[in-house]
């Protein structure tokens, strides 16, 4: 079983890196990019029997800092 964890800054938390990417896209002539948010994707290769609840606990305890980040878990 594999799981893919998406970690993003929470809405309302300023993302200076996303903002820099947005500026760079504008410099390249891509008008109309109203906002960019940059996050990360973590792929987990899991032993059989690992549950989605286990993955959620991994996110809470390490993979995301829930002070500033939110996460979603996708079982693939």
């Amino acid at each position: 079983m594999k799981a893919r964890v998406h970690v993003m800054l929470k809405d309302g938390v300023l993302d200076p890196q996303g903002e820099a990417v947005r500026h760079a896209l504008g410099t390249l002539g891509f008008d109309g990019v109203n906002g960019v948010r940059q996050g990360k994707v973590i792929e987990l290769d899991l032993a059989d029997g690992t549950t989605e609840a286990d993955v959620n606990e991994m996110c809470e305890r390490l993979l995301a800092n829930t002070v500033i980040e939110r996460y979603t878990v996708e079982i693939v």
């Binding site: 938390v13 002070v67 500033i68």
Partner: protein, 222 residues
């Protein structure tokens, strides 16, 4: 008084911190991150600056889950003193011993320069050697020092007089110009600036020395 300095792979201010502790009269033991306990009788734990575990995942995130950090959290919960500087501050927020988080600097650049700090409280054994409103010249050297916390946390920090230092000239976008915060029992301090790099005149500023002297005095009296 006995102090421990934790060493992670990628720590690079551990020896500077040990020098500053020793200059203040402390007996210092270096403790490796894989150790599961602190030496007996430790009064103060220093978590140094650097790039523990290469800043993988998030700054301080892996270090905060290392075996020794469990012992550091227990030490803090038992009323022990902990000082986290720069990466050490990031580690302390990741352990949950201090609230908030440290994000990428607002200007996206690594900043290495001496910056003026305002002493916000003298009500702690870290800051008792300063006067409220004093300006200290202390170096910063970080890429991820942009302190953030929810409005409820910020109100609580302010109400409880737990903001230890503010930047006079905010270099990194930190909310409320916050450079360092205290735990609710005032025995855990995390700050981004490096007082151990301003602990004697030869370093260009000795404004950090009073922090180590005050700590040593408090621990000697304890």
């Amino acid at each position: 008084m006995k102090a421990a300095v934790i060493v992670f792979p990628g720590s690079n201010c551990d020896r500077d911190l040990a020098v500053a502790f020793r200059a203040a009269g402390m007996d210092v033991t270096m403790v490796w991150h894989k150790d599961t306990g602190l030496p007996d009788g430790i009064d103060l734990v220093g978590i140094p600056g650097g790039f523990s575990f290469g800043d993988y995942l998030r700054c301080g995130a892996i270090a905060a889950r290392s075996p020794i950090c469990r012992a550091v959290v227990d030490h803090a919960h038992a009323g022990g003193y902990v000082l986290g500087i720069c990466n050490g501050f990031q580690v302390l927020t990741e352990t949950g011993l201090l609230p908030g988080a440290l994000m990428r600097n607002a200007g996206l650049r690594f900043i290495c320069k001496t910056t003026p700090l305002e002493v916000v409280t003298d009500q702690s054994d870290f800051t008792a050697g300063y006067g409220v409103g004093d300006t200290l010249n202390i170096p910063i050297a970080h890429h991820d020092g942009n302190y953030t916390a929810g409005a409820d946390v910020l109100a609580k920090l302010s109400d409880e007089d737990r903001i230890a230092f503010r930047y006079r000239d905010n270099p990194n976008g930190s909310v409320g110009d916050i450079a360092g915060v205290l735990s609710s029992n005032r025995r855990v301090l995390g700050l981004m600036p490096h007082p151990e790099r301003a602990a004697e005149d030869a370093q260009g500023s000795a404004d950090g020395a009073a922090m180590f002297r005050a700590l040593a005095g408090a621990l000697a009296d304890a």
